[in-house]
Symmetry: C2
Subunit: 346 residues, 2 copies
């Protein structure tokens, strides 16, 4: 492995000069053009790569950001992660991934991993657990810049990026309303998820506005904290047994929507002819479902990107010894119409 010393030797200059030039910092300004060119050429020819360990040791910076995801095999996390990486990459940071594997007990281990790697900031993708409170406690004692994606923590020191859940479900219901549906069933999300309340609120407020009555007999609620698919399926079966007519369904999320469609199909109904279904999230396979799902797209790339942008700013502030207030961003969701919805039969 070729070191900076060898480059300096071959160039006939000191290591300091080489360091300054290759780092392209403000100090490089003071070095003459020919010398700079020469150093770059030689470094290139020798295939010099700075030793990140030495660099980080001396400069006390790791140039890395920790990303804590609750489940890397969940496309939700994966998409956000990709956006974060793309963004960080352009600004010279790189990401260190910590996967909770859907197991809250791994939290300590993952956090330790990140702290050990001396990450300069943490981006966490929220999930069911009480991650945020734990994180909050740790963050505040260690003064590490952090942003949480998917959970808004109003009025506290940790930044956040969230989707506008209310606006999303309003669009979903409006879509069905405009298609002429009025007997609409709902599968509510689990109570311990902030999203559930917000999404439900959006539905209620839109229903109020257009004077649509929500029949309590057509509302069911997810209780469990595991996959929403299994429970969604059962809830849909239960709903069908009530023998109360409806022509459309708003599901808590795409997985629930898929489960509901499956249950409807099993019972001999055809989606969307007999019942329109709309989901939430726009997970990748929604487009490939049978039928392709009408759903609310939350811009995960945008959310990841914003998260990265925020931590970059926080890090910058921290290295410059500035105070930087926490930022809270909310991204707008979008209705995607596919084939799981259609006008109410005449």
């Amino acid at each position: 492995m070729v070191t900076i010393r060898e480059v300096a030797g071959k160039c006939g200059v000191s290591v300091t000069t080489v360091s300054m030039v290759l780092n392209n910092g403000p100090a490089a300004r003071r070095i003459s053009e020919p010398t700079r060119k020469r150093i770059w050429r030689v470094a290139d020819r020798l295939g010099y790569r700075p030793n990140v360990f030495a660099r980080s040791l001396r400069s006390k910076r790791s140039y890395s950001v920790g990303v804590m995801v609750f489940d890397i095999t969940d496309p939700y996390c994966a998409q956000i992660l990709r956006a974060i990486e793309s963004h960080l990459q352009t600004s010279g940071y790189f990401s260190v991934l910590a996967d909770l594997q859907n197991d809250p007990r791994q939290f300590q281990r993952c956090l330790s991993l990140l702290l050990e790697r001396r990450v300069e900031a943490i981006i966490a993708i929220a999930n069911w657990t009480n991650l945020e409170t734990k994180l909050l406690a740790e963050i505040s004692t260690r003064h590490i810049p952090a942003v949480i994606i998917g959970r808004e923590l109003a009025g506290n020191p940790i930044s956040s990026v969230v989707v506008d859940n209310e606006a999303g479900t309003r669009q979903a219901l409006q879509h069905l309303y405009e298609l002429g549906h009025s007997k609409i069933a709902f599968i509510k999300g689990p109570r311990d998820l902030v999203d559930s309340a917000q999404r439900w609120h959006g539905l209620e407020s839109f229903a109020d506005e257009v004077r649509l009555t929500i029949d309590p007999q057509l509302v069911v609620e997810i209780k469990g904290r595991n996959s929403t698919y299994a429970e969604g399926y059962q809830l849909m079966e239960a709903l069908l047994e009530r023998n109360r007519a409806f022509t459309a369904l708003v599901a808590f999320d795409d997985l629930t929507a898929c489960a509901a469609i499956r249950a409807l199909t099993k019972s001999g109904r055809v989606v969307p002819r007999d019942c329109s279904v709309v989901g939430f999230d726009d997970i990748p396979n929604s487009a490939f479902y049978n039928p392709p799902l009408t759903t609310i797209h939350q811009q995960l790339e945008m959310q990841g990107s914003l998260g990265a942008e925020i931590v970059e700013e926080l890090i910058r502030a921290s290295t410059e010894n500035r105070k930087s207030p926490p930022r809270h961003r909310k991204v707008a969701p979008r209705l995607i119409v596919r084939e799981s919805t259609c006008p109410r039969a005449a």
Copy 2:
């Protein structure tokens, strides 16, 4: 941040002693039990965490393994990645992720990223591109232990882990055969994918054995190199237009199978009643499809785990200055029967 020096100070011993004890290496043997206990206790109390940069700088080891995936949002990659991480974690390594984002041109960038982080080995998850040849060239010049998952490179220096494609498709066809199907359609995979030929070969060999004739009119082939969904859908429509009767279909992979089911449903047919469909891969949402997919499960966790195991051994060999021959492992796939297949109608 508390350093080893402070721990040593508080304990009244030298940094050497602390280092030896905390690393728990063979050298720690030479230190008396009481001293050892004391050092651990103090380190713990002070919350001492060794500085990985200093450690790596001095020891010339990074304790990290690079994992190059072709698309982190692809569940195939994500599942393997998770298994790799779990495995590495138990042996004190950690992984550095490099995501090609489905773009072969990113290869150099990703490789540089990994080399810059000074990874001690590379695990690559193969994809459509000519990744393996590039990787091979780079690996051999730099002498970095490597294993590639998903592509067998017979008789060359890079290790591999693959699924037994032939055995997989044999099981798929056998399943349909035992259900009484004989007029069976096939969607072959793209030619530039090694898997395609192997999977096809398994089908042919089983058909031969049980004297099942494969009607060339019922075989279509994917040409493109993008998502197999879009093309699978079109191919299925084309197949239906030929008006040649069939009661079952073997698709190249799960995405193709989903596309085919969608096309069948669109044309008014019911799966599996009118046509049984079997896929390959067992991607996570196969279980949630409408109907849930009968498919061939390739044990991705196992593949990731084996990959990690192999690089660990390669690294061990390399640090001990031993030669270690490349290893080639093949994992057995398994038929998973769900609801997209049923006996042929009487």
